[in-house]
Amino acid sequence: MFGRTDRDQAGSDAAWGLLSRASMSGPRRLAALMLVFTLLLSACGTEAAPTNTPVPPIPTDTAAASSAANDTPTTAPAASTPTSAPAAAGDQVVNMLWTDNNNLRQPLIADFTAATGIKVNQVQVQYNELLDKVNTTVQGGGDTDVIEMDTIWTPQFASAGWIEDLTDKIGADLKKDIPESSLSAVTYKGKLYGMPWFNSAKHLFYNSKLLQDAGFANPPATLDEFVKQAQATTKQGQWGSVWAWKQAEGLICDWVAIMYTKKGARILDDNGKAVFNKEGGTEALQWMVDLLYKYKVADPASLEYNESDVQKAFQTGTYALTYNWEGDLPADNDPTKSKAAPNVKIGLLPGSADVRSSSVNGSEGWAILKSAKNKDAAWKLLQYMASPAWQKKAAITAGDYPILSSLYSDPDLQKQVQDFPIYGEQFKYLAVRPQVPGYAQKSDIIQKHMHEALLGKVPPQEAMDAAANEVNAATSNP
């Protein structure tokens, strides 16, 4: 979650979804809501539990189905059509569900088809609709083979038995160039349930001019240095730091990154019990609260900003330091968009005496559904996506940060992206948000209590204790 896809589209998606909702008026809206509610349910409820969705034997000769599958346009809602794509030799097909909304990766799909002869049927949705779409696809028994999977969904999909265990397939030769942190996005309980697609993490963005004016040649390497530099750069009309600390997932991302500067920090223990209140989370929250109230070096507006608000604020050139996702740099250093141009640089997120750097994993991956009818073709597609051929071209055409370490020293890519090797380095220091089913609810609980502390209403220790208790009780929900 909160990779580039999300950040770029979240706003417009939300607006669109709501526009269509808002265009209905009065009681009709209630009726429609209930309708959506129940239609969704009747669609999902009457089917057998998805763990044992019957998979019909692969038909050997279904010409009609084949042509139907071939005729499916790329954006057609094929998920619910009953056509089954055949896996006859020489005419292999794979059906996938993903969010290539701007079609930047279509040449790569064409490359794959040219290289393997396997045709790819695509269903494309907006990121914010993806989880719902996966849910209905799985519950409704569509013919999708491959799905895009955000890191925070891995546990839910894996524990519900929706996706294939790929541990045996992703062998040592594949893994040797993919850092452990990238694989962690698709790992649940030690097993690999997907193929990493692109890397995403928070990075340190700094305004090198403001830091130099304050006498700092280098960005902060530790949280203590961060405070010092932020103090030195905070003055009238200027803030040392700005954050995406709105009550939202981005708040959790920063908290996790800060927390893991402490060696041995843990969010959950081995039994899945929340222990963050005792093992690092409270210190991290205390640090955040101190930035606001003790050192007064964080813009109070941080509490209503999300990542794109932070980017816009940073582009005013009046902020020295911030945490944000990769991919912001070109716009930040574009003089037509940013008053901070050309002084914005990226660096590793601060660490501590024990930890060199600590960021949070926002990567996404690919998974094969258990109900897939074209598993061989699907696996070939996943292999291709992890290959240098796909990864390098995707970095150039779509701005996907590669999962392969070796590509960060690739001269072509270094020419394309400012400070490219730093990203490669940062992707080695990624903490993972709790990989538990029901993550969305637990994250919301923590966000709420953190916000109470950040608003100065509750001391950090009290907020963290309350959050941990509620998270541990959340498993007994209705």
């Binding site: 607006a15 808002a22 209630l30 519950q139 929900n477």
Partner: protein, 311 residues
């Protein structure tokens, strides 16, 4: 059954059967619509109620969907978050409807006067109402932006504020700013209803009052307000129902019901449970509870209205 048939026959004769067949024809012609309505409204309603009696966590399919009676409802009553959401909803409803009524009444009375440019004023008044709620939310997000918003700029130029204020990161101000944004859009609705009501008041009453030497305030308090009461009640009832279900403007302005859940109204809570956490059974139960709350409100208003007829 038999007896009624007999009495019908006894009373009956041909006219009765003719009536019956006419009624049957009517029913027959209504049937397609009735069936469609039953399918698209009746069935989903019944199904969602049935669902609310089950534990249906779509994210944990291994649990199945067992029948749990009214446990979802009882669970809701034990949740502090549920009651907090109700409390925030009531706060929003009371303050925003109160504000809208006060402003709506003021504007309606003003627009009911004859003056140059009345038509233009009426048009300008209605304009915000034509805006989509989401567009309104985005608009106010820009106005309230702490760094480049016009609200802070204006207040700072006027000398009210020394430094920019972050309106949407304060548990007190966020909800009140949302109320302001919502009122800006919905006051026209209220104004229009009240204006329509005002125009039904016969002008003879005012003429008679003037002859008797009544002041402006006396005319308002003794004529306008009493005669307008039924309309006010209807307008308030409609707005209360609308305000109780508020969702979109909060979603646009806060994203997650923040800060610290202070704007997480009951619709938002329901949305989270059903579509964010996939607790469909619990989500269905919450939406039935919302419906129940609204039925109570409607009954109260209807009582008030009935006792108010014939002033």
């Amino acid at each position: 059954m038999e007896q009624t048939a007999v009495t019908a026959k006894q009373r009956g004769g041909k006219i009765r059967t003719g009536e019956l067949s006419e009624r049957a024809l009517g029913l027959f012609m209504l049937a397609p619509m009735a069936i469609v309505l039953l399918i698209v409204i009746g069935y989903p309603l019944a199904d969602s109620f049935w669902l609310s009696l089950h534990r249906a966590n779509l994210a944990s399919p291994e649990q199945g969907q067992p029948f749990i009676g009214f446990d979802n409802y009882l669970f809701a009553f034990r949740q502090p978050a549920f009651w907090y959401a109700i409390q925030r909803t009531l706060y929003f409803t009371v303050i925003s409807v109160g504000l809208e009524l006060a402003l709506g009444l003021l504007f309606a009375v003003l627009l009911n006067e004859r003056f140059r440019g009345n038509l233009g004023a009426r048009l300008a008044m209605i304009l915000p109402w034509a805006l989509l709620t989401v567009a309104n939310g985005v608009l106010w997000a820009w106005i309230l932006n702490p760094t480049y918003g016009i609200f802070n700029a204006t207040l700072m130029n006027m000398g009210v504020l020394q430094t920019p204020k972050s309106w949407l990161s304060d548990t007190f101000w966020t909800m009140n700013m949302i109320i302001l944004a919502d009122a800006w859009k919905t006051v026209p609705n209220m104004t229009l209803l009240l204006l329509a009501g005002l125009q039904t008041i016969p002008s003879e009453l005012y003429e008679a009052a003037e002859i008797d030497g009544a002041s402006r305030w006396q005319k308002f308090a003794r004529i306008t307000f009493p005669l307008l009461r039924p309309v006010i009640l209807v307008a308030v009832a409609l707005r209360t129902i609308g305000a109780f279900r508020v969702f979109d403007i909060i979603y646009v302005l806060t994203g997650n019901g923040g800060p610290a859940d202070s704007t997480k109204v009951i619709s938002f809570y329901d949305y989270d449970q059903a579509f964010h956490y996939l607790f469909f059974g619990y989500g269905a139960a919450i939406s039935w509870l919302i419906t129940a709350f609204m039925i109570v409100l409607i009954v109260i208003y209807m009582r008030l209205l009935r006792s108010d007829v014939g002033p």
